[in-house]
Amino acid sequence: MNQNTKEIEIKKVFNKLIENKIEYIVLRGFSDIPHHVSINNDIDLICSLKEKKQINKLFSDLDYKYHEDSREVNTYLYHAQPHEHFYCKRRDLHFDIVYSLSYRSPNMGEWVSVHEEIQSSIWENKITNNKFWLYQPSNTDLVVHLICHSIFDKKEFKNKHIKQIEEALSNIDNQRYYYLLELVFFKFTPFLIEYIKGKDYKEIIKNYLQFKEY
């Protein structure tokens, strides 16, 4: 599938979401859309759980296949839900949909929903951009999400996430940034902020897991 056709196919999905008034936010990886997304590099969206059925129907009508992460293999805590995957090999496209911000615990990899205020903040402060996919988190929510995603899900800070964090950091609400991070990292928060500020990404995860000052 050539790049133009892929772009048309992605636009088709977003147009349908907008036409059907389905609320969504593209979570990350903005610069990959449309030309660098593929079946292996998915488009991550957060949607509202109350629209789950509509979303399923919408993708099914567009001839996407469906797969839900296994509840037998994974553990979901505090209202976390399995990721839903809508994919099409022919189009080389994959949409990964979540219904809450949840991350993998360093304990046994359980999926844990983060604090309610972080969940509501991403919706209340979402911004509308001038791209065809329209909605993305505010810079503050984006940085908080990418930090959590890197520490808990990826267990490392990948260069592409560092780049997004650093681009967004220049324009954030510092007070809210601290407040939201504190809901996840508690007394480690001031140290975490210093590491991010000093671009010392390699030390963060080890120092977080070995943190003792509480």
């Binding site: 505090y78 046994m108 508690f186 480690f188 003792k212 509480y214």
Partner: protein
């Protein structure tokens, strides 16, 4: 409630016994929690370390480990056999040839059915790893402390035996009563066999318990596990069928 980094440090919950829930959790950045049934005690790390030191000293004073200290054992092993410890009668140091020892190994059937078997040291994945056949041990499912993996753990044991000898800090291989099955110390046994050969005689620690609860009937255990596994499969199939 929503700290994703809640690390279970120990879980001794069970259907039998006085407490149904007994869990210690490290809520990174927040506090350490001790859950005993519906009660939760919150500690700072400093308080928790003081508390555990106090417990160590109390157990020593009570002679719970027949003259030995908690530090002489792997704490995970003591936790695993905690139910048996009130029946511990004596601990004796003996000598035995490594080739006479048996080890419990686990193997998975269809990824989720865990079956146990008794094998000699030269058949365990850790020994095979040290002899160069690495694949099985790297995938072998076993308890490791947080931040540890199979290879790192075994290589650290190898280094310790090379540097400090065996037994180090009175930490012996542990056997129960008349059985020659290693209950704690498979990695050390693998290292000793690798370094000195299977004919080497080593000192072991034998726990003598009253009663028969400590005995392990592997066939009976496997039968029960397989039965439960099968029942679970049937239940899931039925549930899926009824949902349609």
């Amino acid at each position: 409630m929503s700290n994703p980094a809640v690390i279970t440090l120990a879980d001794a919950s069970g259907k039998k016994g006085k407490f149904k829930r007994f869990v210690i959790e490290d809520n990174i950045g927040e506090s350490v929690h001790l859950h005993v049934d519906n009660m939760r005690v919150e500690f700072t790390i400093k308080e928790f370390l003081e508390f555990s030191q106090m417990i160590r000293e109390s157990l020593k004073d009570l002679g719970f480990l027949k003259g030995y200290k908690l530090e002489n054992f792997d704490e995970h092993f003591l936790k695993e056999c905690a139910d048996l410890l009130p029946r511990l009668n004596k601990i004796v140091i003996e000598e035995i040839e490594l080739s006479k020892l048996k080890c419990i190994v686990h193997s998975n059937y269809r990824s989720d059915l865990n079956i146990m078997k008794l094998v000699s040291i030269d058949k365990i994945p850790a020994y095979k790893f040290l002899q160069g056949d690495k694949e099985e041990f790297l995938k072998y499912g076993q308890f490791n402390y947080f931040g540890m993996n199979n290879e790192k753990r075994l290589m650290e044991t190898l280094e310790s035996v090379k540097q400090n000898g065996y037994p180090f800090q009175d930490k012996y291989l542990v056997l129960f009563n008349g059985e020659d099955t290693i209950r704690d110390g498979q990695h050390r046994a693998a290292v000793l066999a690798h370094l000195y050969g299977l004919d080497k005689k080593v000192k072991i620690m034998r726990f003598y318990f009253d009663g028969t609860k400590h005995l392990m009937d592997i066939d009976k255990n496997n039968f029960k596990t397989a039965l439960k596994w099968f029942a679970r499969k049937v239940y899931r199939k039925l549930r899926r069928y009824l949902k349609r």
